[in-house]
Amino acid sequence: MQPGDTYYWEGPLPETDQSDTTPAPWKDTRVVGKPIVRVDAYDRVSGSATYPSDVTLPDMLHVAVLTCPHAHALVTRLDIAKAEGMPGVRVVLKDGLPGTDIPWFGDRSGKFASRLFDPHCRYEGEEVAAVAADTIYQAWDAVRAIAVEYDVRPNVVDVDDALKPGAPAVRDGGNVISAPKPYERGDIAAGFASADVVVEHTLHTPCELQNAIEPHGCVAKWDGPRLTVWESTQGVYGVQGDLARWLKIPLANVRVIGHYVGGGFGAKLSSGKYAAIAALIARKTGRPARLFLTREQICRSMGNRPANTITLKAGAKKDGTLVALQSKVAGSGGAYSEGGTGSADFVIRELYACPNVRCENQSAYINAGPERPFRAPGHPQGAWALEIVMDALAAKLGMDPIALRLKNISTVSQVRGGIPYTSTGLAQCLTEGAKAFGWTDARAKRPAGAVVRGVGVAAGMWQAGAGGPPATVIVKLFSDGSAHLNMGASDIGCGTKTWGAQIVAEELNVPIERISIEHADTATTQFATPSGGSKTVPTESPAIRAAAIEVKEQLLKMAADHLQVPAADLEFRDGEVISSKDATKRVAVGRIPAFGRRGLIVGVGYRAPNPQGKAINPFAAQFAEVEVDTRTGEVRVLRFLAAHDSGRILNPLTFRNQVFGGVTMGIGFGLTEERVMDRGQLGKVLTANLHDYKMPTALDVPADKAVVIVDPQDTECNTTGAKGVGEPATIPTAPAIANAVYHATGLRLLDAPMSPARVLAALSARTAPKGQKGRA
């Protein structure tokens, strides 16, 4: 899978039926837009929520996977005899055994490069064999007893190295992936010729690992021909499709349940070999099988945000008007993905009005685990380049960085042929954010000494975040006035169930406590696309609203017949239907004869298509204040403010939490996180654990952080007016910090993460030529 293929679309969308009427935008709301505590907060906090990794079944086997310890090797001998005879071992699965001939890692042309246990291992961590035993300890003891001989091949783990002539070949066809046609708009040469100032920088961004707290994995169980899988996933229907294809069984015989997921961040948009292995073992043994990967295995094989090298050149007129942007991005999606640069130039093409743009990409294969989508694929990388170059442009022009950005706001989508956005709150994010942050005062303060301070800003937008069809939701009303929400979407921690219930409560006037929810189960809920792409809110919320409205219309019609009043005069609240004109005309829900006979009202809601000829995107501007210790190179984020246009906010509590989560990830991108490979030696991942792979801790995130909600009152994007936020929240964070570091120190740091090593190197480079070595 390529990032972007399955969780948002450009172009025609698959459509579902739609309701006859389009409800008017909400005006005053009673429940939507209120800071309601998550409906499952107690379950999550108390530990009573059953995550897939908590599932325990009678007679369940435990599976451990043997993976290749080399960056590039051929398995020449695999002896499982000893392992098979060890205590508790029920089955050892390896290449050549029945069911294992599953093609893997398909490319766009439909060809497959590998298979489930392919003896040609092109990265450290590829699966070689699997053992199922009565206990996980027995399974691992047996894995250690499998004798493997490898023919170790030369490896290459860096894009620059991979592109050099004579580099070790990762794939039979070599490492170079033919570059797509460059994106071009206007006349780039003429653009630069007309520029008064030009800035050009080459910047590097780190390879990041998603590292969700819950490991990737599943529990698989067969009942005759039917398979049930509990998987930690962002989308149960994607897993269902994968398993049906791998096992060659009907979709109808695959049930996937994913009620909870301990984080995904894109890496769990699709399933993995673990699910095929667990299902094969469960089928062979007739016992349920549990397979969750180790943290090390996840770090090596379950996805990453590719490292990018971006050269960006920008030209502007004296008044700040952008006239030319030119980028070149290099990256690698690992040994099997053709990507590595996907969407990295989107913000360069689209965020600011610019008539002349040219963007080129170059990818290569390396001996590393394949990329998987990672919260806003490409965008934090592109924003790192664009927003640092914009800051440099502002400095060169002698302009305030916010004024420069405001000068170049676009109200139309330039990459989509100039169609207008349904709404853009970018300018408001910049101005209202700056006001709330105290930008002007903070910018003027420049304390002297060894520890210096500065403030910085960066803006961003997200390519998707519009949502769209298909989405089908069922809302049921029971005869006692309680309601049920049934939807296929996963709640990946963003509060999907909570705002879903809020919409039902809003339309039906049923208290949240009287709404039950069934979701993320292919046997009991309707098809849903995976929760990713910042599209769950704008995709599902209009369908939920439509379903609830359909219920309400049916109920009011039944009540109208019974009370002999027009349905338009009736309201449903607190378990009663009441006439707004005559309060004596009222009936308890349970006493409407037609409802009593039917017992249940079912409403089905569909997601209508997005408006034609309009672009829908969320926007953001973020502000950081930092402290830099010039003796030690430490950067500390003192306070942070994130201003976001995500349309209508359904629940400000979960919204703020999601923004803070994105900012925290952005702090990791900017300051601490980096996958390091043993380049030039064994090519292994040196950071395959949570000590060496440095995710930010609570002490790396400022206590002083704020969110400014910019609601452009978008009545066109969909019937709830909501756009996405999950991804926008992390896009501008790191460059905002980098620009603050520049403001504090005058150092233009071009490489993330801005570790003490990099800050000190930049400080030394500045002081060394002046012969001031040893100065404070």
Binding site: Y137, V676, D678, Q681, L686, A698, P756, L760
Partner: protein, 323 residues
């Protein structure tokens, strides 16, 4: 997953020493690192001897000479919060407070912190390196951004302890007990560099255990501090750190001890920096000179040159706080 092993719980130091004599046996104190190392195959053990029930190894108490005894099983959290340590041995309290994370400080012990094995990603990874008895240090041609700028000799790990440099600066000694009896080793002589033996970090022999650490009473005019710089705000080892203990007399530095963390295979004492401080007023010029002297003999590898500036910076910032 952990491989199978036996587990016994000693009731006394003597019993622990007896139990440790069997081949393939290791001592288990807080276990914060040992169990992970066994899971990852960094070290193997057939049997663990737990010190968890040996009460004589616990506690922090005054000694008859006016100093302090720290039991080897005292937790890092107990040391960080002990009133006497905070008041009289500030460098140790500050060092203990920045070890790892709160959970690990609650579980980890002083003895374990002093005897922990290096965090080099080659040593901890599936590399048969010099520290595991191999013939190569993979950091030399590999990624050495976190490796040593001092004292590397066929092995370029850095010592991970924060408490050790503080204790060396404060003149502490360790009591070590084994089959041959008990001995006292100044912590300054406790660590073994790779030029002597790259496969071990301390003088503690197999079968021996550290039982306690003894701090001498601080001289009048004593001051000390520890500063650590790490790649993130918590749960991380030092990129570089400095423990400095000074005795100030009549406005001048009478004696100084400067010990660096995160820059050498053992806690790295820098006599040149101590000499630059001795007899001087603790003013800006002295501080700059001492900080420069601290890194004068550093040997950079490809990617760790920043540690020279960093070590100089931490020495300077500790001295500025003490001034």
């Amino acid at each position: 997953m952990l491989p199978a092993f036996a587990y016994v719980r000693a009731r006394s130091v003597g019993q622990a020493v007896t139990q440790l004599a069997a081949k393939g046996t290791r001592v288990h104190a807080g276990g914060t690192d040992l169990l992970g190392c066994m899971r990852d195959g960094v070290m193997a053990a057939d049997r663990l001897v737990s010190l968890g029930a040996v009460d004589e190894l616990r506690g922090i108490s005054a000694t008859s000479d006016g100093g302090l005894r720290l039991g080897a099983m005292a937790t890092i959290a107990e040391i960080a919060s002990n009133a006497t340590v905070k008041e009289r041995y500030a460098a140790l309290a500050q060092a203990a407070a920045v070890v790892a994370s709160p959970q690990l400080r609650n579980q980890g012990t002083l003895g374990g912190n002093l005897c922990q094995r290096p965090r080099c990603w080659y040593f901890r990874g599936e590399y048969h390196c010099a520290r595991k008895g191999g013939d190569t240090c993979y950091a030399i041609a590999g990624d050495n951004r976190f490796h040593a700028i001092f004292g590397g000799s066929g092995c370029y790990v850095v010592h991970p302890s924060d408490t050790a440099p503080a204790l060396i600066a404060l003149g502490a000694s360790a009591r070590v007990q084994g089959p041959q009896g008990t001995r006292t080793v100044p912590l300054d002589a406790f660590y073994v560099g790779p030029e002597k033996d790259a496969t071990r970090e301390t003088v503690v022999a197999p079968g021996e255990i550290v039982t306690e650490v003894l701090l001498p009473p601080p001289a009048a005019g004593s001051k000390s501090g520890y500063r650590k710089v790490r790649a993130r705000g918590s749960w991380d080892f030092a990129l570089a750190g400095a423990a400095i203990a000074l005795v100030i007399e009549s406005g001048k530095v009478k004696t100084a001890r400067v010990v660096l963390s995160g820059v050498a295979p053992i806690p790295w004492r820098v006599p040149a920096a101590e000499a630059a401080l001795a007899g001087q007023k603790l003013e800006a010029r002295t501080i700059t000179r001492a900080a420069a002297a601290a890194v004068a003999n550093a040997e950079e590898m490809d990617q760790n040159g920043y540690k020279v500036a960093l070590a100089r910076g931490v020495v300077q910032s500790v001295l500025e706080v003490l001034a």
